[in-house]
């Protein structure tokens, strides 16, 4: 009986120590595999928005060769390798995931119609949801003449 009480006491002491450790290093304590029941790392306070934008030669976004790619982060602050993250994030906030508004031709543009396709892609996370978008332009002029700055890189 006494030995049971003693082992219970030891167990309690170990649990208290674990709790103290968790208090002292809240970020690292949950990383041990034994803490399986603990919640995952606390989600950050903002909804994640991070995209990879690419330009692919041809009209096959899946198998084509990606010529250029940039990253765009919009939360907590605009950033990434996109040349104009502030402008691109503002466009995304205005149009949400409806990116067709940003690949539409600008008002005062005129392009020839030869078929030499270029495809733009956007993949990643927007406002906490996964996003996958592709749009094919007939030629490079269409790509350069979009209404938005999102695909201008």
């Amino acid at each position: 009986m006494r030995s049971i009480a003693r082992s219970l006491g030891l167990g309690s002491a170990a649990m208290a120590l674990t709790a103290l450790t968790a208090l002292a290093w809240p970020g690292t304590a949950g990383a041990t595999p034994s803490a399986a029941a603990a919640p995952a790392t606390t989600a950050s306070l903002y909804t994640p928005s991070a995209l990879v934008l690419g330009v692919t030669a041809g009209d096959d976004a899946r198998r084509g060769t990606v010529l250029r790619a940039v990253t765009l982060v919009c939360a907590p602050a605009p950033g990434g390798t996109h040349p104009d993250p502030v402008g691109a994030c503002a466009e995304l906030r205005e149009h949400g995931a409806r990116l067709d508004a940003l690949t539409a031709p600008a008002a005062d543009t005129a392009c020839t119609r030869e078929w030499n396709p270029m495809t733009v892609t956007a993949d990643g996370v927007w406002d906490g949801r996964r996003l996958s978008y592709a749009h094919t332009f007939g030629n490079a002029c269409g790509l350069r003449s979009t209404a938005g700055v999102l695909f201008d890189f």
Copy 2:
């Protein structure tokens, strides 16, 4: 006849001026919509590699809520919001697009088996090809116990 020659001469002068402009500002000259036949902006010298890595609650990567997302750029140099871009890029270079090697459990881990799924995703461009990957762990312990650092954020 003379007027035709004169207009030809003017045309040649204009073309020469355009060529000179293109030489002086090679990056910007192609951006005018009228230069439709010109090639697109020159592809950079390195193959693009940029990814968005996410952690989604639940087992549905398409419709689930993304809790966290980071960017990872591996060319021309490791960068992005990933906490260990150098380590993550080294793992990707070693395993290529076969990310299952990086979601496999580390050697000395033991997790309980309750079903509280977490899904990791990788979307974007790896080595000039589009990449879309998803893997569901049974619970958060599996996510914390992977062999690689790629999904450790």
